[in-house]
Amino acid sequence: MKGPSINWEALSPFIALVAGLCVVLLVGLARSAFIRRQVVPFLTLVALGTTAGLGIWQWDINEAIINEALVVDNLSLALLMIFVAGGIAATFLSWRSIASAEAGEGEYYALMLTSILGMLVLVAANDLVVLFIGFELLSIPLYVMCATHMRREQSLESGLKYLIIGSVGSATLLYGLAMLYGAAGGTNYADIAAAADEFADDVLFMIGIGLVLAGLAFKASVAPFHQWTPDVYEGAPTPVTGFMAVATKAAAFGVILRLFVGPLIDATTTWAPAFATLAVITIIVGNVGAIGQTSLKRMLAYSSVAQAGYMIAGVVVTTRLGVAATVFYLAIYVVMNLAAFAVITARERETGLGDDISSLYGLGRERPLLAWPMTISMLALAGFPVTAGFFGKLYLIDAAVDNGYGWLAVVIVLGSAVSLAYYLRVVAAVWMQDAPATSKTLSAVPVIAGGSPEADDEARARGVEPGTDVGRVVSEDFGEPSMVTAGERLAQPEVVFVAVVCALVTIAFGVYPEPLLDVARDAGEAFLNLI
């Protein structure tokens, strides 16, 4: 029997990711520390770079492939670029992290590539079953990645929490998909689209939409389905948090756009009011929750909730402009956040303060290369001009007002006004606080689980009892382990590189956003039926 004809060229980004993750997993088995520590992340970068290159090659093909199970169009590819950017940054940030060393580099990076593959399948899905496969392929590796910092209690807690709540989200989504299938009689988006017009008031169909919306809202951390976000963000290793914050958000919004603005467009009257209400709740909950957080990762978690609220505005307007504004915002959201996460990563390694806001004290005076990216990131998230955040907000407001959601635009700007209270607190910590006096005290971190056998062997080889160096820098690249409030400067050029590049891109798109706007507009044109 002959299968469906496959456009292998259009499928090539998927294949590159699968091949990349296999290679990374296998090379990660090598005994040599050099290969595991240096070659594996390098191969990950190669895989991601190849994927991005193939994606650019396939730009503008706009084709449904494999029996219309997947759609490779500019929206999928634009989002792919966002995932790849997040993946590349996360690879740099993980290069010398304890998390990847403890989990085993091969597994760690392979999981990350799997997750990116899941994201791509999710946003390219043109069929409910494929959608669910993508959803799980994205989620399961992330549950594991959250727990890779094996000797930190919070990391394990984070992974477990994410697993449980994520599973509830998946179950809800699956239930909703089943109901949509029941109402529409088919799993392909075309079947759903045909049913949407006819059954928009059907109870089964409406419940299906509601459950799907809730399931996806879990992933996008839209309030009131956001409760896992602060805990998981705080507990997960910082590079993983950064990756999750940007790539998962983009994937979740990608599929929301694809499904709701796509086949469910005729049922807009059913879901748009619900979504608009969620946007308001999300903006309020996120912005109020972030005030007063001392953990930077928790603060960014609530900020990501608030930002999700802004982006919903781009979805509910159901215009091409709205889609373009959402994609644009997702793209700049990546660089704005990654700059911040890179700085947090760097300071986590240098000080013993973790991601506490006090780890940034005195940064402006001593570390301009970290201080400026953090500042630019915060100002951009708050929407100040000459950063990409300004045009991101402007574009979203433009889209909202354009289709009669002026009140949502007002909610967005009021939310941004509240958000100044916590974004500027970080800027104040960087520039207006003096560095704390250096202290050499060790803070004990409870050991509740063993590391990987390899890490334990290495520790014994160094003459240290495994687990006692937790919370300190284990990699020999950093010299003597230290646990000080204002640590010595470490050579971590790749982290600084990520911070600086992201900050520069944020400024560049704040001065000349035209190229990115073009990409976003192309992505918006994937929806042919819209105005």
Partner: protein
């Protein structure tokens, strides 16, 4: 010579970047160059300017097609003299910085200052609504850092308060600006260019709401009653050279915004709302004046006097009299106030040096005996502040009141009380510091040459302007008159 406004606008920020990378002693000199070139440019522009030719030296390039935002800069009668004011005050502040280099991170200070000047100049020359909003919001960033890093007292809190207050208004204005552009396009492409927006006026019901957002942003920025809550903390904390520029120029952007954006874009709403604005203006005048002669902190005296003066300016703008005299007076007074308040802040710094750093006027007294030159300069500025006949301020306030009397007599009567109160607070401050018994902390000495470099040019500018205020009036007359007539129609 062709005038490139981009050079005028971005030169200070560019030099600021260079200064940031320079050693401490060199940085202010580079900033000085960064403010000198725009000053020279403006001086040439004033001689070259043709009062009857409308918008001149236009730079109009496509910037963001997708959003309909154009990079359009231009100079007309409204902004010409405000640009000049900006350059003069910035130059004076830069001279001050070069003779008194900040102890700490001087390069970064100069960078923020240069960025501030660029933002203000950009807001003045922008002929595109989105571009204006961008520069208007950008102004806040450098001053946030200047207060937060080099301020005194609880600087971080003061900086945060200032930003939150002013940005609430600015963000609403951003939404309103986008709404203006989106709603006024009639199936045409989206555009933010001011002349295009003016050509498609919005229905009155829409104008009303948009007007509120814009007015809120500008009233907070000024600040006007009841939005002055951020002012005392920010003024107490801000480092002096920055404060002179901030108080002298930044608040004028708000007044300019009313004249340039609000009146032409929302004429119908102006007719509906102007009574409320006028009442707020009169309250600002009275409240500001009363506060100014009860405060003892010299910075706050000036801060509240600015509230009162900006009340006068608002009164003039919204008087909407048939001859447009109120608005002309407001434009003139904007320049005058900037020109007098900046040297007053420098005088305060000099007084503080003679009184062990105190900025409380109760600690002053008798400084004039050993500092006659300083006293003379201070007196000239103080007399200009209270709008002594013969000063340009007199002409400005006279025109404002003339305009107000011909349209809203009762309010104009109340406002004229403010003229009397102005002489009370200005003279009180002068007498308490310069005359009276020698204060307990005072060790007086006369103005040094290097400080004279800052003060004398500003005082000369005040005198020159007093002699011939017609220069600024002539340049703006045609534009102001047509703006007001459009509202009256």
């Amino acid at each position: 010579m062709t005038i490139h406004l981009s050079i005028l606008v971005f030169f200070p920020a560019l030099m600021g970047v260079v200064a940031a990378a320079s050693p401490r002693t060199l940085a202010p000199k580079i900033l000085l160059l960064g403010t000198l070139i725009p000053l020279a440019y403006t001086a040439y522009m004033i001689t070259d300017f043709d009062a009857g030719a409308g918008l001149q030296y236009v730079t109009d390039d496509a910037w963001i097609d997708e959003l309909g935002i154009r990079y359009k800069l231009g100079v007309d009668g409204l902004n010409l003299w405000l640009i000049a004011l900006t350059c003069v005050v910035a130059f004076a502040s830069a001279v001050w910085l070069s003779v008194r280099v900040p102890e700490d991170r001087a390069g970064l200070f100069c960078f923020h200052f240069g960025l501030g000047q660029t933002a203000v100049l950009g807001a003045f020359v922008a002929q595109d609504l989105a571009l204006f909003v961008l520069f208007f919001d950008l102004m806040l960033v450098p001053f946030y850092f200047l207060v937060g890093q080099w301020g005194s007292g609880d600087r971080a809190a003061a900086a945060l308060k200032m930003v939150i207050y002013t940005l609430v208004g600015s963000l609403l204005m951003l939404a309103a600006a986008v709404a203006t552009a989106v709603l006024s396009r009639a199936d045409g492409p989206l555009t933010f260019v001011l002349t295009d927006l003016q050509a498609n006026p919005l229905p009155e019901s829409t104008q009303k709401w948009l007007f509120v957002a814009f007015a809120l942003a500008f009233l907070i920025k000024m600040p006007a009653f009841p939005f002055q809550g951020w002012m005392p903390d920010a003024y107490r904390s801000m480092p002096l050279p920055a404060l002179a520029f901030f108080s002298g120029v930044v608040s004028k952007v708000a007044a300019y915004g009313f004249l340039k954006l609000v009146l032409p874009l929302f004429p119908a709403a102006v007719n509906d709302w102007n009574v409320i604005l006028l009442i707020l203006a009169v309250i600002s005048i009275l409240y500001g004046s009363i506060q100014a002669f009860t405060q003892t902190n010299a910075r706050l005296i000036l801060g509240y006097s600015s509230v009162a003066q900006l009340g006068f300016i608002t009164l003039g703008i919204f008087a909407i009299d048939t001859a447009g005299q109120g608005a002309q007076g407001a434009l003139l007074q904007s320049i005058n106030h900037g020109l007098v308040v900046a040297p007053l802040f420098f005088v305060i710094a000099l007084l503080a040096e003679r009184a062990e750093g105190s900025e409380d006027i109760r600690d002053y007294g008798g400084i004039a005996f050993r500092a006659p030159v300083l006293a003379a300069l201070f007196l000239i500025v103080a007399l200009a502040t209270l709008a002594m006949p013969g000063s340009a301020n007199f002409a400005g306030e006279f025109l404002i009141l003339l305009g107000a009397f011909s349209s809203v007599q009762a309010l104009a009567f109340l406002a004229s009380i403010g003229v009397i109160l102005a002489s009370v607070y200005a003279l009180r401050m002068y007498i308490r510091s310069m005359h009276n018994r020698v204060g307990p902390k005072v060790t007086s000495f006369d103005l040094s040459v290097r400080d004279g470099l800052v003060l004398v040019p500003l005082v000369v500018a005040i005198i020159a302007f007093a002699l011939y205020p017609q220069l600024a009036l002539d340049a703006g007359e045609a534009t102001v008159r047509s703006t007001v007539e459009a509202v009256l129609r």
